[in-house]
Amino acid sequence: MSENPKKLNLKQRYKLLTRGLDWETTYQPMDKVFPFDTFEGIKIHDWDGWEDPFRLTMDAYWKYQAEKERKLYAVIDSFAQNNGHMGITDARYVNAIKILLTGVTSLEYAAHRGFSHVGRHLRGVGPRVACQMQAIDELRHAQTQIHTLSHYNRYFDGFHDWRHMYDRVWYLSVPKSFFDDAMTAGPFEFVTAISFSFEYVLTNLLFVPFMSGAAYNGDMATVTFGFSAQSDEARHMTLGLEVIKFMLEQDEANVPIVQRWIDKWFWRGYRLLSLVAMMMDYMLPKRVMSWAEAWEMYYEDAGAALFEDLERYGLRPPKYADIATKEKNRLSHEVWSIFYNYTHAAAFHTWSPEDNELDWLSEKYPDTFDKMYRPRFDYWREQAAAGNRFYNQALPQLCTTCQIPMGFTEPDDPTKICFRESVFKHERYHFCSDGCKDIFDWEPEKYVQSWLPVHEIFKGNCGGTDLKDVLKWYHLNDGVDNMDYEGSPDQRLWAEWTANRSKAAE
């Protein structure tokens, strides 16, 4: 015992407290203790080469996180006590956070379980601890989102059975299949998919629109959640970059494997984000920025810099990133149109954009909006005004990979729907894009298993043959959660509440 202990810096302390905890097992072979970290072909020669992306010991973790939780829950409590939902710009905004709860919260939870899997099954102690920290963080994000949005559930429709809907409702199979895909892959693909492609490359396109959208639209609870989660996200992004560098530095043979995963997960993530594109351009009463602007800022500029950096490892930018860029001026309009068609089967409302909103879209999309989309919305609005609000009664064909209805257009012809197909074991499969077709063709055995909601309805696995039966099976309150915002209970009650408030103010 020493009277004058040596001073340790954070890195040394972390290393001593953590890095030596594991050992080479001998009573059981290492390959049996860690059975999953070799089958993908990733070669790791030296697990100690792992650079800890953040050096957080549990004592510090509990301390910081508890402080953040105390502050966040104080805001959530005060939001509820003061009827914070009355401070939002307009009740149409609430539909954006219905998508957050039903479509994203379960992804946070899936990330929690997925990182637990990887946190147990990678054989190096460094990456394992980093993944475990992310595992528990993701549980935090799922639970704090539930608690933040719980208040909205008390006042608005569409939130009430969010997890049940995640397992069943057609468009929620888009996020679900995305995460199921990552979780059912090997551990290295999982971290590439989630930590790198999603958290590092694309997260600004998910997180920023929702949280800035909340801030712009007076949703103080959600924006506080966003700020509180931000420092966790920063940690997760650092992990994402470290994972990639670690794999690439360990063996040159890893490069093509990682490249293929980056190609796949870029496209998969991008297709998932098309729901966010629609949200940004159509669902926020007060807009933050357009999808095209966000794409330019967060992908074209930031992504270019990132991939320039990674070039020295032999990586190139993801395949089909150029297609995503070609689609930036049409993506949100195409997706909003799909949901406008099928909102009678969705747990949120759509509507005809108001004049000033159409003008905003014209301004943001000068080359495409007036030419291709505005006339469509004008027509739909006329029809709706005449009592013919259009609901598409036919079930849409879905892309086997991303599971979005096949409404996307040809990269070089925005007036023509894009169809691709592959034949596997005498069956024909359909895709919305070359990106989705490639993903299928690489692992057809995986994607033939897809639980495609429309197919399942036709197979009779979704409560019945009638739309009403299916909605019941979804736990969707027909005439309440679904249909146009115009005439919805949300709209009626919001009008009453705000009218009462104005009266009280007089």
Partner: protein, 332 residues
């Protein structure tokens, strides 16, 4: 007299989420624990089978021999979701940090009988690897387990065990003046010293068990119920005779943690055993197997510390476990 603050109230349309209301039997306010826990894990319509385990769905009830009609029959008596968990642990850690400071500032370890301190080093520091093993096992339960009520508790247990492994390491660093030598020695002993091989063998065997509930019983009941009370209570109590109170201060977190862990583990076993005879029998069988191994594995360490008193001390802990499990309807 109460103040009546006027607010422009709007009436809520429902009190809680539908899944919580179904479980509460009525639409009434759900607790934060309930809303953050119940039904949160997906249960059906998974898209693909895991490449790493094509026999199972992503979340699959058949990953354990234990059967439950409803895996949410268990509720954590501590009502831990992420927020309450981290806040509770931050409080414990704050107290523990004070203890570390108190001992370091006054250099209290120098007041402990050197022979005893050497013994503490010998029995305590290699246990950082045991705790790391417990971390891995609880992580596996979180991975393979079914239902958020259980898998969040195992997630918290996993980070708890990492925390305890790190705290034991800090005790080592206090002893070696931050050189890390004590940790290096402890790892050598864990890997090669015959005293530790039974324990390491058992821990490694637990790493290759596929049934997550068996891992839970093996780790959180059978192994822990021998090792934690012996080390942090029995050994500690003997240490008092050698001026070892400062060591107790350094171990306080582990003692409090074990009491806390027992609460949810016992509540879980009670619910699961009450579900069916086959569950009860299966748990008993697992406890018999792993408890027997844990006794044998820990015997050399216990003998090193307690000498002739080791057998009796072990018996006390075994009787304690019998009594504890009898209360929740499990015999072994």
């Amino acid at each position: 007299m109460t103040l009546d603050i006027k607010t422009s109230g709007v009436e809520p349309r429902r009190q809680t989420f539908a899944n919580v209301a179904r479980r509460l039997g009525a639409d009434k306010p759900g607790s934060r624990y309930d809303e953050a826990t119940l039904d949160v894990q997906p249960t059906e319509n998974f898209h693909y089978r895991p490449l790493w385990d094509p026999k199972h769905e992503l979340f699959d009830r058949s990953r354990t021999k234990i059967g439950m009609a409803d895996w949410y029959a268990f509720r954590d008596p501590r009502q831990f979701y992420y927020g309450t968990y981290t806040i509770a642990r931050a409080r414990m850690m704050e107290a523990q940090e004070k203890n570390f400071k108190f001992v370091a500032k006054r250099n209290l370890l120098s007041s402990v009988d050197p022979a005893w301190l050497d013994k503490v080093r010998a029995y305590l520091i290699p246990l950082r690897h045991y705790e790391w093993g417990a971390n891995m096992n609880n992580c596996l339960m979180t991975d393979y387990g079914y239902g958020t009520a259980i898998t969040q508790a195992t997630m918290f247990a996993a980070t708890d065990r990492l925390g305890i492994a790190q705290m034991i390491s800090r005790v080592g660093l206090m002893m070696d003046g931050n050189s890390g030598d004590s940790l290096g020695t402890a790892k050598e002993e864990w890997l090669h010293d015959s005293m530790w091989q039974g324990l390491r063998h058992m821990v490694e065997d637990s790493f290759v068990v596929d049934d997550w509930f068996e891992v839970l019983v093996a780790q959180n009941v059978a192994m822990d119920s021998i090792i934690h009370p012996l080390v942090f209570q029995t050994f500690d109590a003997i240490g008092i005779n050698y001026g070892g109170a400062p060591v107790s201060l350094l171990n306080e977190f582990a003692v409090d943690w074990y009491a806390d862990s027992r609460r949810w583990v016992d509540a879980l076993l009670k619910v699961v055993a009450a579900e069916s005879d086959s569950n009860r029998d299966q748990i008993s069988e697992w406890i018999r197997t792993w408890q027997g191994r844990a006794q044998d594995a820990f015997k050399p360490i216990s003998e090193h510390v307690l000498g002739d008193g080791a057998a009796q001390a072990m018996d006390v802990r075994i009787l304690e476990l019998h009594a504890r499990l009898a209360k929740i309807g499990i015999e072994f």
